[in-house]
């Protein structure tokens, strides 16, 4: 059952969309949030997690010979905030939140959380290369190849992939509380998410101009490029936290949905001029604003339904997951200040 969920393709919402409007993106505190949400401060939770993830990453990538490559790897992964601020570290936060939901210690998920950032950064470094997006900057500072040269950027990406696996293996508390067999599943999950049927597939489809083709293709690119990574984050957290098959499947669906949601909202915000400019605003050209907003609502409801499955059993521990959904849509606060002081 866990396996079949790997191949779930997000259902394309069929709801009428004419009554949706831009207002939905700016509305505060949705009415369907649990009553206890006032007691949970997502910003504080997220900020404390970023601190943990940053120190995990810092320790995982010491400066050592050969310094050139290690310096380029640190540059790609560690923030030292550019003018658009530090990384939000959404994938690791999702991973830790899923693990903590199940009552497992944060320490069980932190190495995998750091690995997610390394894998993500490796993909971005290659995605920015001159032969790809040719992005001269990322997060407001020169992209890795602009700072270190194209050849070094290729190698830095190549070295970050294995470092992610090394880090998970050497730092996850194993065999207690995480058994070897579970650690293997986590490793396979990480490798699958960035592989030829996951994120690399999304990069390929994006490269081939699939987002210009139509709604199904747009959703496919968003799902592969962003949904897979978020699904992987939630799934790793679930496995490390000792989830049963049903719980893991629900967290996978939750992760995949929220990954697409987060990205789609980013595109809507940039197209409406409220967010930073992104290269793939073509998503909006293909979908149209009304349709995009309709999909946002559908995804939001879907993610909350998945999170709801846990509220009886885990009570308030489901709140981080629940409030991510609202955050993904509303972006009610900025994390930059908090992260920049770390």
């Amino acid at each position: 059952m866990a396996l079949s969920s790997l191949f779930i393709i997000l259902p394309v919402p069929k709801v009428p969309y004419s009554n949706y409007s831009r207002r939905l993106l700016t509305a505060r505190a949705s009415s369907d949030a649990p009553a206890a949400s006032a007691s949970f401060d997502l910003r504080r939770y997220w900020t404390s997690l970023i601190a943990d993830v940053e120190s995990e990453l810092d320790a995982a990538m010491p400066m050592q010979p050969p310094e050139s490559i290690h310096s380029a790897m640190r540059y790609a992964v560690l923030p030292s905030a550019g003018k658009e601020g530090a990384a939000k570290r959404a994938p690791p936060v999702l991973c830790v939140a899923a693990c903590e939901l199940l009552g497992a210690p944060r320490a069980a998920a932190l190495p995998a959380a750091a690995a997610l950032e390394m894998l993500h950064a490796a993909s971005l470094v290659h995605d920015d290369l001159p032969c790809f997006d040719a992005a001269p900057t990322r997060r407001g500072r020169p992209s890795t190849h602009a700072a270190y040269g194209t050849d070094m950027a290729v190698l830095a990406g190549d070295a970050l992939f294995p470092l992610a696996y090394t880090h998970v293996i050497s730092h996850t508390p194993c065999p207690d509380p995480v058994p070897h067999a579970v650690l293997l599943r986590v490793l396979a999950e990480l490798a699958r998410a960035v592989g030829s049927t996951g994120m690399a597939a999304g990069q390929f489809l994006d490269l081939a101009g699939a987002t210009a083709l139509g709604e199904a293709e747009v959703m496919q690119v968003l799902t592969k490029k962003f949904g897979e990574m978020a699904e992987c984050s939630a799934a790793c957290g679930a496995m490390l936290g000792g989830a049963g098959p049903d719980e893991e499947a629900a967290l996978r669906r939750y992760g995949r949905t929220i990954g697409v949601l987060y990205e789609l909202v980013d595109d809507i915000r940039s197209a409406s001029g409220n967010g930073k400019m992104r290269s793939n605003a073509s998503v909006l050209r293909s979908l149209g604003m009304d349709r995009a907003l309709g999909i946002v609502e559908e995804l939001k409801a879907q993610a909350k339904t998945e999170a709801d499955r846990f509220s009886d059993k885990y009570g308030d521990r489901v709140l981080p997951l629940y409030s991510f959904v609202d955050y993904a849509v509303e972006r009610g606060f900025e994390l930059q200040d908090a992260a920049a002081t770390l």
């Binding site: 050849d151 070295a159 294995p162 599943r185 490798a191």
Partner: protein, 377 residues
């Protein structure tokens, strides 16, 4: 140690194995300036061939182990495993095509053979190590695909065929390399890759340890560190050679650093993870690690020797390239004769590590070492 083998390294190592039937055909190497360079090295080439010819005659009777058949069978099995491992039916088709193009292009499959042989020498069933053997070949292929990119070596031909980026374009070549790297780890970590008879108690911990070894050997302290010499922005500190232009002054340690990382790291991983999955003891694993390091360096020393002593046609790739690119090589640093002596030394070091293993089970590793020492291309 070597004595228990009744094995004199200098004599026994002079075994000549004819080129393997499944090795890539010589193809059509670009003629370029290699003819002139090859002619310039006529002298050395003739002498080297003479030594090898004598050795071949002397050794023919000393071994019953059919190395050629062994390698042929392993290559077939590895190719089958690789073919099955790439999700060819799934989209995106072009990405999977590019991965298969690079991965299934032939080649001697030396690394997978080492992995399987290391599993067997510690008493493990070879099928247990097949996922690991496939994984090291995927990693090797990925490093070649990225190595050939215009921003790196900028090679148009590999094993006589157009390189991956020439056929599929640069971005897909970058992605295909990344995807092969991910696939190698996914393939090794997935329970479904292994036969059902693995020890359910010990297997997961062994695979975790093996994946850790693979990742370490190919990362920034391994394979990737060895590639750094090609980087334009790499400062002249540890590894950069090509930028200096005054190659005589590059000390031997630096050359060794590069080769230990660029080539030996993945050979080390191949052998060590095979031994781990086969259930080897820590002592056995460390002996095999030393064996792998020696043959890794040996591989490169022989490569350097072949580059100056063989023609492009014999090599299946452009000969004399090292000389043309002003690269520092062992023959340049030590002279051809001393390089050959060094190769013999490395071979006997490697062979010595095999002494404590069952002689019959160690035969493939022994012959692989000899093959690496005396290959002709």
């Amino acid at each position: 140690m070597a004595m228990s083998f009744h094995f004199h390294p200098l004599a026994a190592s002079r075994v000549h194995f004819s080129p393997l039937p499944f090795a890539a055909a010589a193809g059509a190497p670009s003629p370029s300036s290699s003819v002139a360079i090859a002619a310039h090295h006529q002298h050395g080439r003739r002498r080297f061939s003479a030594i090898v010819a004598t050795a071949a005659a002397a050794s023919a009777a000393t071994t019953e182990f059919d190395f050629k058949a062994y390698m042929g069978e392993r290559a077939v099995a590895v190719n089958r495993a690789l073919d099955a491992a790439v999700p060819a039916g799934e989209p995106p088709a072009a990405l999977h095509d590019a991965m298969r193009y690079a991965l299934l292009a032939g080649g001697k499959r030396v690394r997978p053979a080492l992995c399987l042989a290391a599993c067997a020498v510690v008493g493990g069933p070879e099928p247990w190590a097949m996922p690991a053997a496939a994984a090291v070949e995927m990693v090797h292929t990925m490093s070649l695909v990225h190595d050939d990119l215009p921003c790196m070596d900028d090679d148009d031909l590999r094993r006589g065929k157009p390189t991956c980026h020439v056929v599929y374009g640069e971005p897909i070549a970058v992605l295909a390399g990344d995807a092969l790297l991910s696939l190698s780890f996914h393939h090794m970590a997935s329970v479904g890759s292994y036969p059902p008879d693995v020890d359910p108690e010990k297997h997961p911990a062994r695979v975790v340890r093996a994946i850790g070894e693979l990742a370490r050997c190919i990362g920034s302290e391994g394979l990737v560190a060895g590639q750094l010499k090609k980087c334009s922005t790499c400062p002249l500190q540890v590894v950069d050679l090509e930028m200096t232009g005054t190659s005589e002054t590059v000390p031997l340690e630096r050359l060794e650093y590069i080769h230990l990382h660029k080539t030996a790291a993945l050979l080390e991983a191949s052998v060590v993870i095979g031994a781990i999955i086969g259930g080897g003891t820590d002592e056995q694993i460390e002996r095999l690690r030393k064996y792998a390091r020696s043959i890794g360096l040996l591989f490169q020393v022989v490569d350097d020797i072949l580059d100056v002593t063989k023609s492009s046609e014999e090599l299946g790739k452009t000969a004399g390239k090292d000389l043309a690119s002003d690269k520092t090589t062992y023959p340049k640093l030590l002279g051809l004769e001393k390089s050959r002596e060094f190769a013999e030394e490395l071979l006997s070091d490697a062979v010595e590590q095999l002494a404590c293993f069952d002689k019959e089970k160690a035969a493939p590793l022994l012959h692989l070492a000899n093959y690496i020492a005396h290959r002709q291309n």
